[in-house]
Symmetry: C2
Subunit: 265 residues, 2 copies
């Protein structure tokens, strides 16, 4: 008679995506940081998708191709946006919801108002809409040669904790990491999104045929002096953690509008 | 000596954009609906941009071209996303902030979770980030031959009121209109965003070379039985009005996370 097999607890599935594209160093650093915590599967854009926000592809079909980008990690590149990657991963790659979805590590900050424009954070938010706990991670260093070791350490610390407990069905964390060594970082700080914006100035140029074109440039303006914001935390060498939600209702304004508007002539 | 000129109150500037593209019937209906309330200027995408969310164009330059799409209305088409249109309009067309920004009228619903994916609503939200009061309008009819008369009536009713009073610096309204005649509509109803999502199912096909591709399809699931939601209002023939905000912080979860997470090893 065959020996009874020891029932093994199934490994958690960790879905990883990003917006810098599957070949970016940041996503490689993230897979390395968490590969010991579960079965990692990567589904990421086949090209840079920064600033894509919550865009989805509806006018064109998507391509999905298996790649050998990472050692010993199942990976696929997708022709769509970061949000497309999450949707496609659940339906066509994993055929189930992963236990957690990670997005990043982004090359560059996604604190404060950047959360709105960021493909990295939109992928994480999409996962949370689908009841998959998620974390978007961004390092405040745009360089392709950035040092991800501090960010990787905190990615591991966070994911280890989140896999162990059910905090919220729609948990979505916007995590930003200062460009410092692990020992220079003061730890995680739970924050709110700072009130900030970009002041746009388009750079106007002429092409060789004399036709004008415009490059988006702009200056980041932080109006928020609070010490409970992500911008403050980052300036003070903390890893900022902002829980993010997809209910955009402004409840304060809702109450005000009930009285302020004539509802019918 | 010259006669003293009567000082005239300056006309409000109404910036209009959309995500269906500058030639869509919905944006034409919107310009017609409000052209008597101020100076209308249109800056809209040169092609359909549905589902673009809050995407911005950062890897490529933008084109901006004056058009003669509308009778007696200054208009420009832009090669970028709806959010690009708003940014470019302020910096390069108007050279000031408009008094209000309208986006739409969208061909199809943008209630509940659609607010996240919608280029129409992201354009409106972008305006509100820039302290421009804004309204995104969507008709629950995808047809290019849709009847916009009810929607146009309520667009006018809303804009007339909003130009007259300062309700909030960052006012942004997500307005959805049932596909009914004006007299069948019960009036505006101030709502919250319903808790709903899409259950995705990608349609897998093979191209003539045998390579697979995927079309995004999905079923809309409303989990929210509340009578204060936009979905309920629309099902009951009201025009739904949800005030929308760009602070995505989940404050409830923020308080919970302070205790739930180890912040440093």
């Amino acid at each position: 008679m065959a020996k009874a097999k020891t029932l093994q607890k199934e490994e958690p599935i960790i879905l990883i995506t990003n917006d810098d594209g599957i070949t970016a160093p940041g996503i490689k650093a993230l897979t390395e940081a968490v590969k010991d915590l579960g079965k990692v599967v990567v589904v990421a854009p086949d090209k840079p998708q920064s600033g894509m926000g919550h865009a989805i592809t509806i006018g064109y079909p998507l391509r999905l191709t298996k790649t050998e980008t990472f050692q010993d990690i199942e990976s696929y590149q997708c022709s769509g946006t970061p949000v497309d990657c999450v949707k496609l991963a659940v339906d066509k790659v994993l055929h189930r919801k992963p236990d957690i979805c990670l997005s990043g590590i982004n090359h560059g900050a996604n604190h404060s108002i950047n959360v709105i424009y960021s493909g990295t954070m939109s992928a994480a938010l999409e996962a949370s809409i689908e009841s998959i706990p998620s974390v978007g991670l961004s390092l405040l260093d745009y360089s392709m040669n950035a040092d991800f070791s501090g960010a990787a350490y905190y990615a591991n610390l966070l994911v280890k904790q989140l896999l162990g407990k059910k905090i919220d069905k729609h948990l979505c964390l916007n995590v930003n990491i200062p460009p410092l060594k692990k020992d220079e970082l003061k730890g995680l700080k739970i924050c709110r999104q700072a009130y900030a914006k970009y002041e746009e100035r388009f750079d106007e140029r002429s092409d060789p045929n004399g036709r004008k074109y415009y490059w988006l440039t702009g200056e980041f303006l932080n109006f928020d002096k609070g010490k409970d914001t992500d911008v403050w935390a980052l300036e003070n060498n903390y890893v900022s953690v902002v829980p993010v939600q997809f209910d955009l209702t402004n409840y304060t304004l809702k109450a005000k509008l009930q009285k302020a508007l004539i509802h019918k002539n």
